[in-house]
Amino acid sequence: MNEELRNIWTQFFNWVMGNGPRPENEVIPPEPPPALPFTQKPEDKYSRFHEATLKERYNQWLELHGLHIFSSLYSGLSVLTCIVIVCLLLATVAELPPFGHERNPANNEVIRRYVQYGWHETGAQNIVAGLILDYRAFDTFGESSVLFTAACSVLMILSATRSNKPDKKSPLMRHHVFRKDDAILQGIASLSIPVILMMGCVVVINGHLSPGGGFSGGAILSTALILAANAYGFERVHEFFSERTFIVSSSTALMIYALSKGYSFFTGANHLHSIIPKGTVGDILSAGLILPLDICVGLIVAGTLYGFYALFSEGEM
C-alpha cells in the first residue's frame, strides 16, 4: 500500500516537474545526469526527455489566453460594479423623503426664518440671492476664490508650457483656425452678441430681484465673449479683454468681496450690523451689499470661463 502510494506520488511528481517516462529508443547523452532521489530537483537542461513542467504549461497557456480572459473578466466585473452602484443609488433615492413634503427634514426652522424674515433682513426680493450673498455670503466668497484659483493654475500651467516654445505664434501652436470670411457665423454673432450681453447684464444686475445672480449672469457673459472670439478672432476680443484685464478685474472683484465679507473670519462667521440702508424691496438700488457683490461674482465668473476657453484653445488670453 505504501509502495503503491509512493509510486503514484512519484509519477505525479514527475508529471508536474516535466520528467515523463523515458522513451524506448532513447540515446544516452554523453554526460547523463546522475540519478536523483525524487526529493532533489532534476536539472532540466540535461534531461533530454524533458516535457514542459506544469508551471511552464501554465505560462504558455496564460500567454495564449490570458489577455482574452482578463478582458472578459474585466468587462464582466465592470458591468457588475455598475449594476451594484446603480442599485445602491436607486435604493438611496427610494429612501429619500418625498419631494415637497412639509414634514421633510429640510423644512426646519432655518428655512422658515429665511422665508419669513428674508425680505426684512436682506432687502432682497429674490430670497435665493439674499441667501447666498447675505446669509451665506462667506461660502460664496470661498466658491469665487476656488474659481479664481483654478483659473490661475490653468494660466500658470499653460504659460509654463508656452514659454518652452519661444515661437509662440508658430502655426503648430495655433490650433484655432480663424477664417475671416465666415459670413454666417459673423452675421449671427453680430445679431446675437448684444442680446446675450444685455441678457447677462440684466441677470447680474437684477440678481436680487429676479432669478439668476452673479454666477449665471457671469456664465452668460462668458458665452458672449466666447462667441465673439469664435466669430471675429481672439485678437479682436484681446483688444478689450486681455489677460491683464482679466487679472485686474478678477483680483479687484475678489478684493472687494473679501473686504466686504471677509470679516466673518474674525467674528466667527457672525454678521455685523450693516450701516448700508436696505432701501425699498424691489428697487434696483436696494438690498445693501448684494448688488455690488453680484457684480463682483459676475466679473469673476465671466473672466474665468472665457479664460478657460481662451487658454485651452490658444494657449494665451
Partner: protein, 90 residues
C-alpha cells in the same frame, strides 16, 4: 402638465443612456447638451428658476463648448481643417 413632466423625465433617462453608449464623441456631446436643456426645463417645473438659468448657461453652454474644444485638441474633430491648411496645423 404631469404628462409633460413624465415625457421630459423619460427623455432625460434616454439621453443619459445614449450619452454613454454613443460611439461618436461629437454625438455624445450634443446629446449631453440636450440633456442639460431638458434638465433646465425640469428645474423650472420644480420651481427653481435660479438653477434653471445656471444649468442652461453652464451645462448647455460653457461646458459643451469646452468639450468641443477638448475634442478638437485630441483630434476627433476638425479633420477638414487639416486638408485646407496645407496639413501644417497639427
Amino acid at each position: 402638465m404631469i404628462v409633460i413632466e413624465w415625457l421630459l423625465l423619460i427623455f432625460l433617462i434616454v439621453c443619459a443612456i445614449a450619452v454613454s453608449i454613443s460611439n461618436n464623441l461629437l454625438n455624445s456631446i450634443i446629446i449631453f447638451m440636450s440633456y442639460s436643456l431638458v434638465m433646465a426645463v425640469i428645474w423650472v417645473l420644480l420651481r427653481s428658476p435660479d438653477l434653471a438659468i445656471t444649468e442652461a448657461a453652464v451645462g448647455a453652454g460653457v461646458t459643451s463648448v469646452l468639450f468641443f474644444l477638448a475634442l478638437r485638441k485630441i483630434g476627433q474633430m476638425g479633420h477638414k481643417d487639416d486638408g485646407e491648411n496645407e496639413g501644417g496645423r497639427r
